[in-house]
Amino acid sequence: MTDATPEAPSLALAARSVTKRFRGVVANDRVDFEVAAGEVHALLGENGAGKTTLCNVLTGLYRPEEGYVEVGGRPVRMHSPHDAHEAGIFMVHQQFRLVQSLSVAENVVLGWSRHGGTWFAPRRVEREVAALAEQYRMDIAPQAKIWQLSVGEQQRVEILKALYRGARILIMDEPTAVLTPQEVDQLVGTLREMARSGSAVVFISHKLPEVLAVSDRITVLRAGRTMGTVGTASTTARELAHMMVGRDVVFAGGPGSHEVGGTVVLELEAVSAESDLGTPALVDVALAVRSGEILGIAGVAGNGQRELAEVIAGERARTAGRVVIDGKTQEGKPWEAIAAGLGYVPEDRMGVGVAPGLSIADNLRLKSYRRNGLILHNKKAMADAEELIRRFDIVARGPRTLARELSGGNLQKLIVGRELSSAAKVLVVSSPTRGLDVGATESVRRLLSESARSGVGGVLISEALGGVFELSDRIAVLYRGRVTGLVDRKDADVDHIGLMMAGQAAA
């Protein structure tokens, strides 16, 4: 492990008093940030603290209104990510910028090749990429197409793209959100290897344990300002949490605090379904959820979670099997599932969860249109919306606020609230806290746990293992569309679940 030596820290990248505003909102307020060559530097902060804005400034996507960026100790002016690439700065975004139908090697040489010129020689590039991957201890097949890869492997391709172009500074935005514990270990190994060879790594996160495990130094941002930089060895999770939130954080109580009823409210029998590409996405899935319990579905993204939620919600056709909601066998129509008592909080909040251009009130009655008859009753809709806003503590101007104007956390509270207030028997939630900050995550989790207490049967599909552990009574692991494990939470162990998620262990 390399520790940044205080005597001669060779400065790789720095932001000097950077200020960036969006329509009057200050996203970065005189932010100072320094990264030395050879270190892994964590950038810690809640959502909306200005981490992403700062990184967009550092990678040339935004131009700061005040202040400037230094590379290798010299001020630079960057006008596009392309300029940043020239300066050796690369960023791995949360949403990967990969071309699904192309191979690993093709993605790596996209836009730039060591050899320049007109021709593209797949075999030669594949050899180069394989050598590079080996050097940094990454396990990847250069000729594989991106769509065939797991999320962890896709992330490796993004890192390879940067390495191939000679990156000296690598910025990773929330890199562990979608990885299994084992993949996280591998990633840490790669980042450490980069630091050892003299590169600088910026590691953006809001998860304290992994920040403490990975970094040499930590800079905390809060509300657009730098709260300070600390050496990882000389700090604690408590101190960091305090710096991040500005107050002491108490995390919500765990599961087991509610009664699990006897009635099965959701049952899947030998359900199979296909992905959009026509490949098998679910194979022989059998699950049962009783009222008052939360069944967590763990798994690495792309192992059938989306298809599972869609099949239950009646949005995706089954190729085999049976779905029963509260005793009613489903033909596979969304309205039928709703009528049987299904509440559904989809992964894609803006696209599937709400109609972004409609108001809160309109979004609420969209769900109940079959009960409302032909005529819209505006007064009642407004009153219902106001009631929901109050009950679920949604920050909005009023019932007429458009859904797209809500922040991620408030939008999620709106959707969860709507689904719960329609007298649901079963609630299927997909990645409910993705992209939410600590505060919003807390309240969404509390809502879910309250709903279970009131007798709703919940299915929590999430790649965030922490959340699944915290809320679920039982945990099922999906791997390549099969349920590879089903354990009680009190008997569950993170490492074992991680291995099951990677398909390397049985229950």
């Binding site: 990510p81 990967f96 910028r97 071309v99 139908s101 192309l102 090749s113 010129g117 007109t118 593209f120």
Partner: protein, 323 residues
């Protein structure tokens, strides 16, 4: 008896190539545009403009026949490219709906539009063609049994189309620009992030698509019909669009598909000429269009498109997210 069958077979293939070549040119053009993510439904309009411009040029220009024909084909390509520039500007720069913009192009240039207007203003309809492409006896191998009349007795346009298919394959799969093109159509954001100029790639390939459609149109006036009739491409542009789907966006399969559809177009006439009337001519001429409808229906269902290998960003405007 077998001799007659062999002759019939050869003549079906020869006419398949004749009627298939404009489809091949226009289809290749559409393939390039779609590979960059731009769906251009204006192919029919661009072909007609190419046809009328090429014919007018060949009637007006004097000089050796080969030079007139070359310039006429280039004029057709230019007309097609100019038409596609409208579509490129609307759909790439202004990010208009590509389906609407493309259809507008076909309506604007089509049967009751610009091409017919030009045809009548320049009174092209009354003129017999002065120049036309004729079959070249390549390497003197025309009389070799079976392959001779098929492979070595074609017009310069047909030979050019074969060359184009080979160049397209090399371009798409063995050059870096081709790699970038495939990336732009699949994920413009990924390509942009790696420094590929998405807008430039889309413009260039939309224009290339228009030029090739123009050449396809020129073949109607300079070889197939050798005169100008309003709307003489008769739906070939629509077939070309469907062909791209049938060919899974691959130039090699496009060649096969173009000749298959060309065969159906030609078959009616051939069979009629030989006194075979059990199935009416109209059936054969209608067949490509029935298949076109099927292809378009299949292709417009999203999940089906993915399975067939359509560029993922096809038809979607691209704007870089900025603060």
């Amino acid at each position: 008896m077998s001799g007659i069958n062999a002759n019939l077979g050869i003549s079906i293939i020869v006419s398949a190539i004749l009627y298939g070549t404009p489809l091949l040119f226009a289809g290749l053009g559409e393939l390039f545009a779609e590979r960059s993510g731009i769906l251009n439904l204006g192919v029919e309009g661009m072909m007609l403009m190419g046809a009328v411009s090429a014919f007018w040029t060949s009637q007006k220009m004097s000089g050796p026949s080969w030079l007139v024909l070359l310039v006429a084909v280039l004029a057709g390509a230019l007309a097609g490219a100019l038409m596609s520039l409208i579509h490129a500007f609307l759909s790439i720069t202004l990010r208009a709906n590509q389906i609407v913009s493309g259809l507008t192009l076909t309506i604007f240039a089509g049967l009751i539009g610009m091409s017919s207007y030009l045809g009548s203003v320049l009174s092209l309809g009354d003129q017999a063609g002065r120049h036309s492409f004729s079959d070249i006896n390549l390497f003197g191998l025309k009389d070799v049994p079976i392959v001779g009349p098929i492979l070595f007795h074609e017009s310069a346009l047909v030979y050019a189309s074969w060359l184009f298919v080979i160049l397209s394959l090399v371009y798409l799969y063995r050059t870096r620009t081709g790699l970038h093109l495939r990336a732009v159509g699949e994920s413009p954001r990924a390509a942009d992030a790696m420094g590929v100029n998405v807008t430039r790639y889309r413009y260039i390939h939309t224009l290339l698509g228009g030029a090739l459609a123009g050449v396809g149109g020129a073949m109607f006036t300079l070889q197939i019909a050798t005169n100008w009739i309003d709307g003489l491409t008769a739906g070939a542009g629509w077939i070309a669009i469907a062909l791209v789907i049938f060919a899974f966006w691959r130039p090699d399969l496009l060649l096969v598909g173009a000749y298959l559809f060309g065969a159906f177009l030609g078959l009616g006439y051939d069979l009629q000429a030989r006194g075979f009337t059990a199935i009416p001519t109209e059936f054969w001429s209608a067949l490509p269009f029935i298949m076109t409808i099927v292809a378009l229906v299949v292709a417009s269902t999203g999940s089906m498109r993915r399975r067939l290998g359509a560029p993922a960003a096809l038809g979607l405007p691209y704007a870089r997210e900025e603060g």
